[in-house]
Amino acid sequence: MNAPASFARDRLTHLDELEAESIEIMREVVAETERPVMLYSIGKDSAVMLHLARKAFFPAPPPFPLLHVDTTWKFRDMYALRDRVAAESGMALIVHRNPEAERLGINPFDHGALHTDMWKTEGLKQALDLHGFDAAFGGARRDEEKSRAKERIFSFRSASHRWDPKNQRPELWSLYNARKGPKETIRIFPLSNWTELDIWQYIYAEDISIVPLYLAAPRPTVERDGLILMVDDDRFPLRAGEVPVERSIRFRTLGCYPLTGAIESEAETLAEIIQEMLVATTSERQGRAIDRDGAASMERKKQEGYF
């Protein structure tokens, strides 16, 4: 972060340290791998990751493309921000949609878990194979979920994109071992040591663009299975008797709109969001329908190649 010269003498703040560490990680990856790519999911973590990449390689644009593994079911606001941000960064944007999922019309309303599996898990593997990427940056953080606490910053995947918990390397100092076999790939998590609060504070301090859906506004919603869902477009099949109701809502995480629960909130500014977050009583992943099934589920998904 920018600091006046007299200030620079002082000790680094926690955000300065996290920033410097993430930048160091990204530069290592670019120096040591052949075809890196940044997975860009348009969420707040991706926004921070992209911002850090622009810092790491300035004045050059980041020397890798952005990859959006699309499901066609993201919020409209997300697509808008994606296209704007990619243009600003000077990076190539690759959008991959699993052609088979497209052909079969896989959607979150009719296909449940298969939706995530085909669009996201399979889609990601396809995209990495198709373009021959050997390293992919992801925005996951260790504080998101208990089983993530042990995830390495450099996470190795077999040729079939499987994660083997027994075959991960110790990470000492900031000396990352990026050597790998010809078909192996690496997922790199430069935000590993950031918490949700760090992310928000950094967005606030650096004035980073985020999808407006993170801020509260009146939006058309229905309540279903305990989640408040936003009716983002006319593909949303209303059940008998369901009438969209306008509520002041915001989202703590963003994914496919039919799968992402909103929270009722009046927080219209970043400062208010952070305030709400500090008194929050529900941790982040609960908004994602995907994580509801059991404590060990995330780990299983990871072994199968879900990012």
């Binding site: 972060m1 920018n2 600091a3 010269a5 620079a8 000790r11 680094l12 703040t13 926690h14 300065d16 340290e17 920033e19 410097a20 930048i23 160091e24 530069r27 290592e28 120096a31 622009r54 810092k55 790491a56 390689f57 300035f58 004045p59 050059a60 644009p61 208990k146 089983s147 606490a149 042990k150 991960q168 110790p170 990470e171 000492l172 100092w173 000396l175 071992n177 050597r179 790998k180 590993s192 040591n193 918490t195 504070q201 606030y204 301090a205 009046e266 927080a267 500014t269 400062a271 208010e272 952070i274 305030q275 500090l278 008194v279 009583t281 941790s283 609960q286 404590a295 060990a296 780990e299």
Partner: protein
């Protein structure tokens, strides 16, 4: 932190307040610490308590905490908060390093949580490598144990400055002051002997929360800070890193166009200002810092810990792995290092086999001597052993295939540590600490190639193949004006005449041939070895495989 905000109404005044809070919150510092303890000392409970009491747990995590069951006499099972991977949970142990996060108004904390079971050295060393402080847990009923000594030794080895002796489970010894004092005296005696400096001892109960975040009413006799107070205020900033000479390893050369050439890296120590004279190592070239470039605008100066991009006033040769340093700090380029190794792989160290060594931002090929000593982590006694196995710690000499600018670990934790990588499996097999840099020793083979002769090993299976290949290589070198000497069984004749024909004899022939080659190399002669050597015996120098052709490009560096 959370409680302070809970009652604010969402009005404008409150908005100003939250903004002020955020400003203050952004100035928090970061402390990385490690917790060390044996199984059942109460480590998980203590970490769970810190997370729980810093109020950064959410309701659904608390719900899991309760549903995960196992209530302990009405207490929450705090330990289950920090449990990890499913497979490990089934075994009832954690078997790696897990990182946990919590924050207070003053600091953000990253806790490296390492398990306390026997196979712990590798994990603890990993966790300790980035820690500024260590919390060493002791069960008040048991006092200072062998494990306590072991943990303390490893913390000292990894250069951790801040040490907290957390005497836990004080509730089980009736909050007894005499018991606490006796343990502290015991540890003090050990610390003196082991060369461990200051430490802070705190009596506590992770389960009941006494002296964890607040002072304990049960132990009025203790007047020091609670654990959290201590962690919030302790100064472990490597003072020396700021005062130390400027050093930065170049990670990446930034060349967006012909006009800009920037050297990107993270400052390891010291400060750099625009206009400062610098040396580029290992070449030793001099230049001046022209700009300190960042995304947020140029800086006039920058200090340790920041990731920056420097431009230099002159067009000098500088690439990834080089060190940009203040000229008076110029680290001597070394091709031989004396190091302490912590072995981390199932497969034991193989002396003289080639490994990749990553130090700073350079990766070089390295071969290791057999360990000069193996250190018993329990007694700290040094003994002899033919190799290093998983979790062993030992001293070795490391030969590098080209000189790197090395700094002793004691002087710089960022640049004095290295990892070793298996060239076939790509596993990280060891962590290394540079003890001593011997600049001169390495010249023998690597440093001054213009003076020393090259050593070339001809690989391949058949004697005929080898002979033909050796002749070709000798011819090529002679044509280039080099002095060449071919060492094969025939030439070595008298020198190995006393040896038999078994495997031990063959290895001895290789050893003698190597010594002759080293002497020749020192005399400036290129030595070509055409003897029956195993891949791991072919050092120092490089191997030429007849099957691959013997053009320069096909040469495979081995040391």
């Amino acid at each position: 932190m959370a409680t302070a905000l809970r009652d604010l109404p969402p009005a404008d005044a409150a908005r100003l307040e939250i903004e002020a809070f955020l400003e203050a919150n952004q100035k928090k510092s970061l402390l990385r610490f490690i917790t060390c303890g044996s199984v059942d000392d109460g480590k998980s409970t203590l970490i769970g308590r810190l997370l729980y009491d810093s109020k950064l747990l959410f309701d659904d995590q608390l719900a899991t905490l309760r549903s995960d069951g196992r209530r302990l006499g009405g207490e929450l099972d705090l330990a289950s908060l920090v449990d990890g991977l499913a497979a490990e949970r089934e075994q009832g142990i954690t078997i790696d390093v897990a990182y946990r996060f919590f924050a207070t108004a003053r600091r953000k904390f990253i806790v490296a949580d390492t398990p306390g079971h026997e196979q712990y050295t590798r994990n603890m060393v990993t966790g300790a490598s980035t820690a500024d402080l260590a919390v060493i847990l002791i069960d008040a009923r048991q006092g200072v144990l062998t494990q306590t000594r072991r943990h303390s030794f490893l913390c000292r080895l990894l250069g951790i400055r801040g040490l907290v002796l957390a005497v836990n489970k004080m509730d089980l010894v009736g909050w007894d002051r005499a018991r606490f004092d006796a343990i502290v005296a015991d540890y003090e005696a050990f610390a003196r002997e082991a060369g461990i400096g200051d430490f802070t001892a705190i009596p506590l109960s992770g389960l009941k929360g006494d002296n964890v975040t607040g002072r304990s009413a049960a132990m009025p006799w203790y007047e020091g800070p609670s654990l959290l107070e201590h962690l919030e205020t302790v100064d472990v900033a490597p003072r020396r890193a700021a005062e130390a000479p400027f050093r930065m390893a170049v990670q990446w050369v930034n060349r967006p166009d012909q006009d800009f050439r920037g050297y990107a890296g993270r400052i390891a120590s010291g400060r750099v200002r625009v206009g400062d004279a610098v040396a580029i190592l290992p070449a030793g070239t001099r230049s001046t810092v022209a700009r300190i470039v960042t995304f947020d605008g140029d800086l006039a100066e920058a200090g340790a810990g920041r990731s920056v991009t420097l431009t230099l006033a002159d067009h000098v040769d500088c690439s990834r792995g080089d060190l940009i340093a203040s000229p008076d700090a110029a680290a001597e380029p070394a091709s031989r290092l004396d190091a302490t190794l912590v072995w981390m792989a199932e497969e034991a160290l193989i002396p003289h086999r080639a490994y990749w060594l990553k130090i700073g931002a350079s990766t070089v090929s390295a071969s290791l001597s057999a360990p000069g000593a193996v250190i018993d982590v329990n007694s700290m006694a040094e003994g002899a052993a033919p190799t290093l196995r998983l979790n062993d710690i030992g001293r070795v000499a490391v030969d590098l295939d080209r000189p790197v600018p090395a700094v002793a670990y004691a002087d710089d934790r960022r640049l004095g540590g290295f990892i070793l990588i298996d060239k076939v499996t790509h596993e990280t097999v060891a962590a290394g600490l540079v003890e001593r840099v011997s600049a001169g020793a390495g010249r023998r083979v690597g440093a001054a190639r213009s003076e020393a002769g090259e050593i070339l090993w001809i690989g391949g299976d058949g004697t005929a193949d080898r002979a033909a290949c050796a002749a070709r290589v000798a011819g090529r070198l002679k044509a280039a004006g080099r002095h060449v000497f071919l060492l094969d069984a025939e030439v070595l004749g008298g020198l190995v005449g006393d040896l038999g024909a078994d495997e031990a004899a063959r290895a001895e022939i290789v050893r003698r041939a190597r010594e002759v080659a080293l002497l020749m190399s020192r005399a400036g002669v290129d030595a070509i070895l055409a003897v029956e050597a195993l891949a791991q015996e072919a050092w120092p120098g490089r191997v030429i495989d007849p099957a691959q052709g013997d053009g320069e490009e096909a040469d495979q560096w081995v040391i």
